[in-house]
């Protein structure tokens, strides 16, 4: 047996963990039989392993504290993940925002009526402005930097006009709208053949709220909306399909991640 490969320290560790293949196990045992000190050391390792498990395994039997179960379930998070999964199926990736607040300290999520209200306002704004041929926007895409700076200043939060070229949409421009609790930024995009999409952005009074993506249909307008940190967003279009809108939502969402 002494002609065989020498016993390594890694093998001794694996032996202590009872993870060695049978043939090497026999070799290690023969080796240890001739070395009392090492044999004792390995036996101690096993004893210590047992002591560690005895000390900490009881945690496995304890009921899970409610706040941890909540943090794991995080239904909004799960719905976002479902969206991410749906997007993955469609060939898109979507991020989940960093900066979740601790469940216990987060304010209540956006109330459905409030969110639905935003979706409705976005749909109304869409049907109001998207048919416009001559005056679809106040400030055109040729002055995008000015537009974004202006809207950011009026809303009091940093607003961006996401690049939606990947979805075949180019920025037309934007305007300021009155919202129920303050100014609203309204961006318009269109495809080469004139199909339009608008993005409604409002500043959120309570920071760090986040909601799942939601979809609604107001008459003929599809709306995707969500709240992420400082802003509530609603994408509205009467021209794009639900899948196209979802694609755009993921693009927007990715770009708005800090």
């Amino acid at each position: 047996m002494s002609d065989e490969a020498p016993i390594t320290e890694a093998e001794l560790q694996a032996y202590a963990d009872e993870r060695l293949a049978p043939e090497r196990r026999a070799a290690v045992e023969a080796w240890l039989a001739a070395r009392a000190e090492d044999a004792e050391r390995i036996a101690d390792y096993r004893r210590l392993g047992g002591a560690l498990r005895a000390a900490f395994d009881p945690l496995l039997e304890e009921p899970v504290p409610a706040h941890l179960a909540r943090a794991a379930r995080r239904s909004a998070g799960w719905r976002r993940f479902a969206v991410a999964a749906a997007c993955a199926v469609l060939g898109f990736a979507v991020g989940v925002p960093a900066g979740w607040q601790l469940a216990g300290t987060r304010p209540a999520t956006l109330s459905p009526s409030d969110a639905v209200f935003m979706a409705r306002r976005a749909a109304i704004a869409h049907v109001t402005y998207s048919p416009e041929v001559r005056h679809p926007v106040e400030v055109g895409a040729d002055q995008e930097a000015h537009l974004v700076a202006w809207l950011s200043k009026r809303l009091g939060v940093k607003v961006r006009a996401p690049k939606l070229d990947d979805a075949g949409l180019a920025l037309v421009g934007g305007r300021l709208l009155p919202g129920e609790s303050g100014p609203v930024a309204h961006f318009m995009y269109q495809t080469q053949n004139g199909r339009r999409l608008t993005m409604y952005v409002r500043a959120e009074a309570s920071k760090n709220r986040e909601t799942a993506f939601r979809y609604s249909r107001e008459n003929n307008v599809s709306v995707f909306y969500w709240v992420d940190r400082d802003c509530g967003y609603a994408l509205a279009s009467a021209d794009l399909t639900r899948e196209e809108l979802l694609n755009v939502a993921t693009l927007v969402y990715k770009q708005l991640e800090p």
């Binding site: 498990r53 000390a55 469940a103």
Partner: protein, 165 residues
């Protein structure tokens, strides 16, 4: 089963590891909570179909390291450190206390390897993957961690003088 349910299922194991890692219950549960929050925020980085447990322990490891780094300078084991425990220690509470103190004295990176192998019973490959270190490093850290733990828990001159590469 969706990721949410699997996360819930893994909580007891996260708690066990966190408890051993962090040394006390409150810190451990904070660590678990931070880990779950972080896991949700990073879920897009998790590749479906791969080992969610290993991924989650990676997240916990990173969260823990960041917290430790933010809190205090590391206090690596002084080789000449006095023995912490004696064989006279009796009872579970004492054992746990002694183990806590001994584990706390292990260098951070050795502690993680030892606990993942011993408590989580991860394969060495899984540990390497979880901690993003080569398997050779896993083995050497495991060896060092055990040697130090042995010296602290079981004492004995022989154990202390033993030199492990």
């Amino acid at each position: 089963m969706n990721e949410s349910e699997r996360l819930v299922e893994l909580i007891p194991r996260l708690r066990r590891y966190a408890r051993a890692l962090a040394g006390d219950r409150a810190t451990a549960d904070d660590l678990v909570q931070d880990t779950l929050e972080r896991a949700w925020s990073k879920l897009h980085l998790y590749r479906r179909g791969t080992d969610l447990r290993a991924w989650l322990f990676t997240v916990m490891h990173n969260v823990h390291v960041n917290r430790v780094r933010a809190k205090r300078p590391t206090d690596p084991l002084d080789e000449a450190m006095p023995e912490l425990a004696s064989r006279a220690s009796q009872g579970d509470a004492l054992l746990v206390r002694d183990l806590d103190r001994a584990i706390a004295r292990l260098p951070e990176e050795q502690r993680a390897v030892l606990l993942l192998v011993t408590l989580e019973e991860m394969s060495y490959d899984e540990v390497a993957q979880t901690l993003a270190i080569p398997i050779g490093t896993v083995m050497s850290r495991l060896s060092r961690a055990r040697d130090k733990l042995r010296a602290m828990m079981l004492g004995g001159v022989a154990a202390k003088l033993k030199v492990i590469k």
